[in-house]
């Protein structure tokens, strides 16, 4: 009896997982199949595989459109932002997690508090600040804004990590007369590699997909990021859905590849554990 029960339960569980797996990926597959259909085929065949595969839409987006330019922009901009982001998160995380100083906890709680505010709320004033500093249409302004906005979360993750590092490690380095920068680069960076991978993945995804700040601070067309370029295509009339989906897939390629490589880190416990608080 118990055995039949287990088997029935297992069947139900597979069924549920199967249904949700389909619900999760169908929209992406839909976008993919649509992007390799011709517009005329899409009119009559919305659901199934393309009868005739065409790369016309990709040609339209990459060669005739500006996708290539936007793609290169994002690929230059994001690594430039990730470097200060990592540095800020690791050094602040180390200090909050493992050093003793006055007001440590109060400052840390303030950092957590500031994490929540929506981009739109900040954007009016950020625009004014960047205008005064001549940072409109300048990647430097966007990089600073991104790091400020995304670093608190990375700092939180690094802080929880460093607070589990044994105190002795720091004490003995201290007694050996190691200065703070040596300690940071020779000890704290290397031991935290798995966590740094996680904050880089989170930072990369946040920046690659970011819209409001880029929309505001990059107004020259040639500077646009890929997500911004696509977000703005949406409003244009007369663009076929087949072309829109090709643009969507083009912007998704890098995150998808990243997911393939780091699937383990992303879906395993560490990531969820780091974020769950």
């Amino acid at each position: 009896m118990a055995n039949t029960y287990t088997r029935t339960i297992n069947k139900i569980m597979y069924l549920v997982l199967g249904i949700f797996a389909v619900i999760a990926v169908y929209p992406i597959f839909f976008a993919f199949f649509t992007s390799i259909k011709s517009a005329s085929e899409y009119v009559n065949n919305k659901l199934s595989f393309p009868v005739k595969i065409t790369f016309e839409n990709y040609y339209h987006v990459w060669i005739k459109g500006n996708m290539l330019k936007y793609f290169i922009n994002s690929c230059i901009l994001i690594p430039c932002a990730l470097i200060p982001y990592i540095f800020v998160c690791v050094s602040a995380g180390f200090a909050f997690g493992r050093l003793r100083f006055p007001f440590r906890f109060a400052i840390f709680l303030t950092v957590l508090f500031l994490m929540i505010f929506p981009q739109m709320l900040l954007s009016i004033q950020i625009f004014q600040i960047c205008r005064k500093l001549n940072l409109i249409n300048n990647y430097f302004g966007l990089i600073l804004t991104w790091v400020a906005y995304f670093a608190p979360f990375g700092t939180y993750i690094m802080t929880t990590y460093y607070s589990t590092v044994p105190m002795e490690l720091i004490e003995s380095a201290r007694i050996d007369g190691t200065n703070i920068w040596q300690m940071l680069f020779k000890i704290m960076f290397p031991i935290a590699k798995p966590m740094i991978v996680i904050i880089v993945i989170i930072g990369f995804q946040s920046m690659w997909n970011e819209l409001p700040f880029s929309l505001l601070l990059l107004q020259t067309e040639s500077l646009r990021t890929i997500t911004q370029g696509i977000g703005m295509m949406q409003g244009q009339y007369g663009l076929d859905d087949t072309i829109l989906t090709a643009a969507i897939l083009s912007a998704s390629i890098v995150p998808l590849i990243l997911f393939m490589f780091f699937q383990k880190q992303i879906t395993m416990g560490a990531y969820g554990g780091a974020v769950k608080g």
Binding site: P102, L121, L122, I124
Partner: protein, 294 residues
């Protein structure tokens, strides 16, 4: 045991946190405070601000779109329980360790790696009147249900709630709750098994109580997602429309600030959003500090 602070530790620590603090002061703290200040002025961004007291707030509470955006936000919040329950159930199933479960976990997570901008766009295409969803409904004989989803105000708002508030929460929710469940004492499950407890019973009396802190935290995160992170999704999904059907406070700031250039007025909206976010941030910080030794 409290260790004695070492010489120079305080200075070193401040040196390490200064980059973060400067960035936060300039790009988050100052904007938040300046918003409140500016909300008492009439200001178009390039001219000199003129002090008008509470006029912006008076205009706002007489502005129909303000109340519409509050109502819409409340409707979206209704989807939070479902957006918590489904990922918890899925995680409880994944946790059973069925053959091939990591595959399902990865597949269910997949949409989360694409950003809100892209997902909003995909769904705006999927739900078009002549889109794939309606084709599917027609093929399976439910042609009468093939509606113009995004042109009917109620449908558009609930579609937003279901997609943004539930569907989009599944993948990350599974990772989040799996991590929470991995720290549940395995012997509780063994005990339940020996008692002959059925699956559902184990779920209700072992799994749920063991992860209640994570559930609390998830609810707070869900509030944040709806109040403070939805703009990019709505921007490509419906542009706040049809009419003002999917208009939210964030969208109001965008519209009055960056479309109509009434920056003082937009700041009044932003101040309301600030107060709401502040309340939620209070709970968030309270839950997060459990992880840090104070």
């Amino acid at each position: 045991m409290k260790l004695k602070r070492l010489k120079g530790e305080t200075i070193d620590a401040y040196v390490l946190i200064v980059p973060l603090l400067v960035l936060l002061a300039v790009f988050i703290l100052y904007p938040v405070l300046a918003n409140i200040y500016v909300s008492f002025f009439k200001w178009k961004g390039i001219d000199k601000p003129v002090f008008i007291g509470l006029q912006n707030y008076k205009t706002m509470i007489n502005d129909e779109t303000f109340w519409v955006s509050i109502k819409n936000t409340l409707v979206l919040l209704i989807y939070i329980p479902l957006g918590a329950l489904l990922p918890i159930l899925l995680s409880a199933i994944l946790r059973e360790g069925l053959k091939g479960w990591p595959f399902f976990r990865a597949v269910i997570y997949l949409p989360n790696i694409l950003g809100y901008v892209i997902l909003g766009m995909i769904f705006s295409i999927v739900l078009r009147k002549i889109g794939p969803l309606n084709s599917l409904l027609t093929i399976v004989g439910l042609g009468s249900l093939a509606l113009d989803w995004l042109s009917k105000p109620d449908l558009a708002l609930h579609a937003l709630g279901l997609i943004y508030g539930v569907w989009l929460r599944l993948g990350f929710g599974c990772i989040f709750f799996l991590a929470a469940m991995s720290s549940v004492d395995e012997s509780l499950y063994d005990a339940a098994k020996i008692d002959g407890a059925l699956w559902w019973r184990t779920f209700v009396s072992v799994t749920l109580p063991s992860i209640r802190f994570s559930i609390e935290f998830w609810i707070v995160l869900s509030f944040i997602e709806i109040l403070a992170r939805a703009f990019p999704f709505i921007y490509t999904f419906t542009r706040g429309g049809p009419g003002f059907a999917t208009f939210t406070l964030e969208y109001g700031i965008y519209n009055s600030g960056f479309v109509a250039f009434k920056l003082g007025y937009a700041s009044a909206w932003a101040t309301v959003l600030f107060v709401l976010c502040g309340i939620i941030a209070f709970f968030q910080v309270k839950l997060m500090r459990r992880n840090i030794n104070g």
